[in-house]
Amino acid sequence: MRLTEAIAARAEPVAALRDVTLRYGARLALNDVSCVIPAGCMVGLIGPDGVGKSSLLALISGARKIQVGAVQVLGGDIGSRHHRDAVCPRVAYMPQGLGKNLYPDLSVRENIAFFGRLFGLNRRERDGRIADLLESTGLDPFPERPAAKLSGGMRQKLGLCCALIHDPDLLILDEPTTGVDPLSRRQFWQLIGRMRQDRPGMSVVVATAYMEEAEQFDWLVAMDGGRILATGSPAELKARTGSATLEDSFIALLPDERRQGRQPFTILPRQGGGGEPVIVARELTRQFGDFTAVDHVNFEIERGEIFGFLGSNGCGKTTTMKMLTGLLPASSGQALLFGRLADASDVEGRRRVGYMSQAFSLYTELTVAQNLDLHARLFHIARDKAQRRIDFLVERFGLRDHLRQRSGDLPLGIRQRLSLAVAVVHEPDLLILDEPTSGVDPLARDEFWRLLFDLSRHQGVTIFVSTHFMNEAARCDRIALMDAGRVLANGSPASLVAARHAPDLESAFVGYLEEAAAARQPSPSGAAAQADLRPASSTAVTRRPPLAWFSPRRLLAYAIREGLELLRDPIRLGFALFGTAFLMLVVGAGISTDVNNLTFAALDRDNSVESRAYLKELRGSPYFVEKPPLATEAEANQRLQSADIQAAIEIPPDFGRNLKKGLATEVGVWIDGAMPFRAETMRGYLLGVHQQFLGDLAARAGQSAAAPANLQARFKYNQDFDSIYAIVPGTMALQLILFPAILMALAIVREKELGSITNLYVTPVNRVEFLIGKQLPYVAASMVNFLVLTLIATLVFQVPLKGSAFALALGALIYAVTATGYGMLISSFCKTQIAALFAAAILTMLPASQFSGMLTPVSSLTGAGAVMGRAFPMSYFLPITVGTFTKGLDLADLYKYHLSLLAFIPIFTMLSLLFLRKQER
């Protein structure tokens, strides 16, 4: 406690929390937390997943809104917007998850440059700073490599570069080393240490799940269940609990009820051994393209053995396991299970294997009981036997109280036990477990391992388990150390430690890693570990405290980044550029409201000169195609039914005779009314043909054929009344709102879903810059689309542009901004990309097809339809496309529509701003 006070007294604290409570819905993440975090030192937050570490860091960084309580950061209330804006350039926040705030499609340099722009660095400052950071982190050999292709350790270093680009006073790191190999982890902390030497004033706050790491920190906050258990230096904590290790002292700090029934973990020694091998890997290799994920791996696992696979994320552990289960064929080499080749189609072999994948692959929508039952059924265990087995497992794994709960709602530790129960429901001889304990607290982890030992020692189950925790690896009978697709060494943990003359397993592993790295190349990362940061003064950022409210550079940062991402995502880019063209071709060629090729058949009961003359009139019509004649009325009915014909003409007996005598007679027609629009049009055609017959008849009789008066119909704009002239401009207006709206909505919700939205929360970028910056690339894509569509219209469909091209292009530009704005607005309401996609598609298609004049003129709309039509931008762009293409109008005729479209832009932007938050709730 004395040290704590000493530190606290030395300087003003970097952060202080008072009575802070945070809830996510019903779940309490932080429960009345108060603490003072000293400045200028390395502070660690320790505790398992889900105890509130991340929430605490998010509050301190200002990323999340404070619900209850007060948080002081760097001498001010972080809850106040003003203070947040002021200190934001002094804080750097690296969220949890490997490279979560990075952009995987962007290269190393582009990622750092993006953050540099956000913090207002000009080009010269950026370039200098990037060069320094890359060199000191050892990333300088690959500035052009996309972040997605970096190993976990490199990705964390890149995250650090991005966080340090603006020389922060407070660096917040949320589990920066989880899943990273021990060598990279060690290098990472060395790097942080050097940075702190250069900038002694910098405070670092780190959350971690590795207790060994936390031993090195200056001051710790131990957390559990949303509360702080204790604070103090590692030595203080250990002294207070009288434990040898931090992990033990953490367990000692837990409340009593959590510790109940806990015994210290003991390794049951393996009896006998030397059984026949259950798994044999011989020169096992797997390549994905030019990338070798698993490189000539060899090992043997004996019956009843617990064999551990130790390595970082992405080192090939999962790929190896998939080859062993037969999920993935090997590129070369062999994997033998029970002496047989692992084969995906070997259904019988699968009965002897239980598998638990990294993601605890359970059906989270099903309850605990349903999950167990489903798996028992899929393994075709007899019902009574299955029931006994499930009862046994429920008892043994302590799931009784959770039977009716949805497995998605279970705490991680219980979900993991369920996952194991599910994997052993069919009593397999071999268990393959891929990182089964990641994220689980030490108590639950011990409990899990006890179950594994029980299975191995008492039931003779062979267990193959992968992990990145050293202390778990140490419990295995034998382990294999894996890095970059190769097994560096294998043997019992003790023999490996002995072979390297290392103090512990971690150091032994680091030794093997260094050896391997040295063998690979004159190691850049190794060299970097020794490299020193250049004097920070040479390129240190000149701080400009008054940050402009609006900065074109920050806006550009987002525009450039979004553009690059779009260019590198083939599906989205293809959709953005060719989707419209494809649909335009389909619709233009296939959709037509012209009605022709109508089929009819005649039932000529008269068969006279006159009746044949009547039918001849019909045959002469360009709209009709004759089918074989009808014999009976029943046939007419049947052929109408089967859509063989669409009209049946019946000419009555004595038609000719009556006609000659001047007696009234009647021709009957049945029209297929299934499609009303077609039926109506057909009726019109038939009446026209009939009139023509009457006219011809009168003419033959020497009478004047003329009616007393005529209505001369003239189709304006399109004399032939060919629907292509209306459909093509109409489709164009539809496509140019549908696609930009969908893409824009996806672009914003994508950031929410993938987590890079954090950069909006914790960097100086404001919402206007964010939205408009993201909008620009899509406006550009929309204009490319507009050009393509115009070319298709004029060249493919031969619909000439009769009016002003300028009016059309200007309209398209305003429309592009409006349409993306519409997508922006839709994205405000959506949390997931798929919801955004559907919402955008439905909310565009419905008003576009019904209320914007595409099929029904806007002037015919009444009531709600009319209101919806007026509130939808397409209603104002459609007159521009139709006007310029078909009606031959220019800007003077149409400018009012341009102005109306323009009016949407501020409205959509304001509404989107209103719904977009600068902090997470």
């Binding site: 029209i671 299934a674 019109g684 007393p708 008066a709 119909a713 209306a726 029904t856 806007v858």
Partner: protein, 383 residues
């Protein structure tokens, strides 16, 4: 037996998952209720509330009678316009029709001088323009006829042909005597939704397994890709079949009062057959897409043309013949065709069996294709 049991139990899991996915559940409910209603109530395929302007330079009883004959619901009350404004008003889409009656029109009619009245039609108002022109012609000759016969025919020469013409054409519209559009649009709405949802649901079921990592899990159990795919087909197919049945019974027959001519059972059998194909497409697309958004984008590019060109929106015989040949390979075309035959024309299995067969054959072919692709991807899905 074992295979069937696996398919059954995997399918029950699909159903449980579906009912927990509120976004998809909401989509299904919306698609088969509100979306169908909205489509049925739109008047896009008929003449409804057409806007008419008129320039009456005659101001005679005949001209007034003609203009008064343009009545709702087909036309909005006609509004007088000035000659110099006509072009502008039509350019901006204010009126779809403008009728001009010249001076001395009535006098010229009675004098047998065969005058012409003018009707300008905005040809860019696709659906309304064509049907509207016919209505105008019919109303024009009917009013003329009424007017002349009231005038006793005293001034009429026989050659004026208005006296009862020797032949009349009696047009009867089969299957939908009043040509009510909602009969067509409501049922075609359901049909479009079937294609859309089958693809989305089945596709989402596959992508969901992959995103949650449960696909690996299934593949290491003694179940085959065939069983996995078949379980998704039956479970999602069942959801949609039930939704279609409810929508047809409640929305279409009860709320909209649309009569159904043929056997609903036969139609439902056809729906089930078609779903076999549509869900197979969903699975196929899901093997191409890696994420839900990608599935959504692919869906738009595949399903939209399939729906638009199936004949459920515009007459299929008006399409250029190469396209018609291509579309005859799409079961959606046959589906629309047999749905119309059964539901509107009351056709039985004797009439529609060739269409059923076509759907079944193409569907089976596609299922095999989807299954092969599914197997490959399932085998090589590691990243």
């Amino acid at each position: 037996m074992r295979v069937l049991a696996n398919i059954f139990w995997l399918g029950t899991k699909e159903l449980r998952s579906f009912f927990q996915d509120y976004v998809l559940l909401g989509l299904v409910v919306w698609a088969f209720s509100l979306a169908v209603l909205a489509q049925a109530q739109s008047s896009s395929q008929e003449l409804h509330n057409a806007s008419v302007g008129y320039l009456d330079e005659d101001m005679s009883p005949l001209s007034r009678q003609f203009i008064a004959g343009l009545t709702p619901p087909y036309f909005k009350p006609p509004e007088p316009v000035a000659e110099r404004d006509i072009n502008h008003l039509m350019d901006t889409g204010r009126y779809t029709f403008v009728v001009t009656i010249p001076p001395h029109f009535e006098r010229d009619v009675l004098a047998g001088r065969h005058p012409d009245a003018q009707l300008a039609i905005d040809a860019t108002a696709m659906m309304q323009a064509g049907i509207g022109a016919n209505y105008f012609q019919q109303i024009f000759s009917a009013e003329l006829h009424k007017y002349l016969s009231r005038n006793d025919g005293a001034f009429l020469l026989p050659s004026q042909g208005i006296a009862a013409s020797p032949v009349t054409l009696s047009v009867r519209i089969a299957f939908n005597p009043n040509v009510t559009t909602s009969w067509f649009t409501s049922i075609m709405g359901i049909i479009n939704q079937v294609t859309m949802l089958a693809i989305i649901l089945a596709g989402a079921a596959v992508v969901r397994e992959r995103e949650h990592g449960t696909m690996d899990h299934l593949l290491v159990m003694p179940v085959t890709p065939l069983e996995i795919a078949a379980s998704k087909v039956w479970a999602n197919g069942l959801v949609i079949t039930v939704a279609v049945g409810l929508s047809l019974a409640i929305v279409v027959r009860q709320l909209l009062g649309v009569p159904v001519a043929g056997s609903v059972t036969l139609f439902m059998a056809g729906v089930a057959l078609y779903l076999f194909f549509a869900t197979a497409i969903g699975i196929f697309l899901a093997t191409i897409a890696r994420t839900m958004p990608q599935l959504g984008l692919l869906y738009l590019l595949v399903a939209v043309p399939m729906n638009l060109l199936s004949g459920a929106n515009t007459p299929i015989e008006s399409m250029p013949s190469p396209l018609r040949v291509i579309m005859s390979a799409s079961p959606s075309t046959h589906f629309v065709s047999f749905a119309q035959a059964i539901l509107y024309r009351g056709a039985g299995i004797d009439v529609v069996w060739p269409k059923f067969l076509a759907v079944a054959l193409i569907g089976a072919g596609f299922f095999v294709l989807a299954l092969r692709r599914f197997r490959q991807v399932a085998a090589a899905q590691a990243g």
